[in-house]
């Protein structure tokens, strides 16, 4: 049992990479999907607004990219990609913990940014001249995904210097 636990560091590191990709990606998929539905509604009445509504639809896509970035960093730092390394259980758990900010904040901010983008699409449908203001509102949600990304990246890079 203790041998299994000792060798499961890599498993937890990989679980962290998977969570970052899967949860943040799910948030983006839901957000982009919702915004896409609203965009299609507007386009069926006003096809000339394609360029504007496309930007709104793409706003919630970034969380998925952030999750991918953190997962990639975990995979390279743990040697899953590149030179194989020994990862202790403690290190594995630390990589898992480092993935959580972008995994969880990515999931929820993606969904809520999607909702906000839907409302923005409604605004642009009625007032195309208010595109600038309408886009700032869903963009504010991005702040929290960026903060989570920052902490995840700092944590992933910092684990190598932790004495355990």
């Amino acid at each position: 049992m203790s041998e299994i636990l000792t060798n499961s560091g890599l498993f937890f590191a990989l679980l962290g990479a998977a969570c970052a990709t899967f949860l943040a990606g799910t948030g983006s998929a839901i957000g982009v999907g919702k915004a896409g539905v609203a965009a299609a509604g507007v386009l069926s009445e006003e096809p000339s607004l394609f360029g504007k509504v496309l930007i709104f639809q793409l706003l919630p896509a970034t969380q998925g990219i952030y999750g991918l970035l953190v997962a990639f960093l975990i995979l390279t730092n743990t040697g899953i990609i590149g030179t194989p390394q020994d990862i202790s259980l403690q290190q594995g758990l630390l990589y898992f913990a480092a993935s959580l900010p972008i995994a969880i904040a990515g999931l929820f901010s993606g969904i809520h940014q999607g909702n906000c983008a839907v409302a923005g699409i409604g605004t642009v449908a009625k007032r195309p001249d208010q595109m600038g203001k309408a886009i700032i509102l869903p963009a504010m949600v991005e702040t929290y995904a960026i903060l989570a990304l920052l902490i995840s990246i700092l944590a992933v890079f910092g684990i190598a210097n932790v004495n355990i």
């Binding site: 539905v37 509604g41 909702n115 839907v118 409302a119 449908a125």
Partner: protein, 322 residues
């Protein structure tokens, strides 16, 4: 059951709202010289279709467009019961009167009910009430018997009108959307006040008034009926202490001012739906806005046909949603 998603529908409605007539459009329409210019103005705004020429045809086409759009956007069967039930009861009333008086009334039927008008006509013509939907069966039987035995058209009307108010109220209360519940409440409350005023003016008995009024949350029906039995001033005094105290001024002015007050109140309450992106609320608000618009255009076209003063028309125009 999964909650219906109206994201796509609301986004389409947002684009459609751009084509709603504004107060400026209505003022421009009023300022036109004659009926033909108004028809041209409406056609340029996309009203009617290429072959249509008369005002009535244009308005009927516009109403058809509303329901074609809603049928396309909303698949839930009972979503718009609060509107469609009104048309079913209207069709029931027309059917009973046309059958008992042996009159042709084809152009009086509304085509936007929950059940086709022909089905209602056929069921009542054959006295086969079980063919009707459940919510119409008892009312149809009772109204038909009353009209056949007493020839009292007014009594027949109040039976159907009250059943309609109750059906709309229940449909509203059973809805999980706040704006539909609010609409059904306002619809019944304003109808009750109109009935009370009419009864007071025609000196109806307390029993008749109580029989005519339908229950709702914002009015105490017993107090309203008692006030109506005493006269208009008593109704105004009761309303002053109710949620509809602004109605008093309109009531004192004229019946058409009160009608305008009721429509404007609904429009004002619906304005919150301009910012709602996900629920059926904006669709409900759009239906009301379009009906209001059609009503306003009808008033203007009638005024043009009858050469009425534009000031009288302006007084009767409802607030617009946009």
């Amino acid at each position: 059951m999964a909650k219906a998603d109206y994201t796509y529908a609301v986004a389409r409605i947002r684009s459609k709202e751009l084509k709603l007539l504004t107060m400026k459009d209505l003022e421009a329409l009023i300022s036109l010289d004659d009926y033909e210019s108004c028809i041209r103005f409406l056609t340029e705004k996309g009203w009617g279709n290429d072959t249509i020429q008369t005002g009535d045809e244009i308005l009927s086409t516009e109403r058809k467009k509303i329901w074609l759009l809603m049928n396309e956007l909303v698949k839930e069967e009972n979503a718009f019961d609060v509107f469609l039930l009104q048309n079913d009861f209207h069709n029931l009333k027309v059917t009973i009167k046309s059958i008992t008086r042996n009159l042709k009334a084809d152009n009086m039927f509304s085509e936007f009910g929950k059940v086709p008008a022909e089905k209602i006509y056929e069921a009542i013509d054959k006295r086969n009430y079980s063919q009707l939907p459940e919510y119409l069966q008892n009312t149809a039987k009772e109204a038909m018997n009353v009209l056949l035995h007493t020839s009292d058209g007014q009594l027949c009307d109040i039976i159907i009108d009250k059943a309609c108010l109750e059906a709309v109220y229940n449909a509203g209360k059973n809805s999980d959307n706040e704006i539909i519940r609010l609409y059904s409440e306002l619809f019944v409350a304003s109808a009750d006040i109109k009935i009370a005023v009419r009864c007071a003016k025609t000196n109806k008995t307390l029993d008749f008034i109580k029989q005519s009024l339908a229950e709702c949350e914002t009015l105490n029906i017993n107090m309203l009926a008692n006030s109506a039995a005493k006269g208009i001033d008593e109704i105004c005094s009761y309303l002053s202490s109710s949620a509809y105290k602004e109605a008093v001024e309109a009531l004192k002015k004229s019946p058409s001012a009160f009608e305008k007050y009721c429509d404007d109140l609904v429009t004002d309450k619906m304005k919150t739906q301009k910012w709602e992106p996900f629920t059926i609320g904006p669709l409900v608000a759009y239906i009301i806005a379009r009906e209001n618009e059609i009503k306003a255009v009808r008033i203007i076209l009638s005024a043009k046909l009858n050469s009425l003063n534009s000031e009288i028309v302006k007084e009767r125009l409802r607030k617009m949603y946009v």
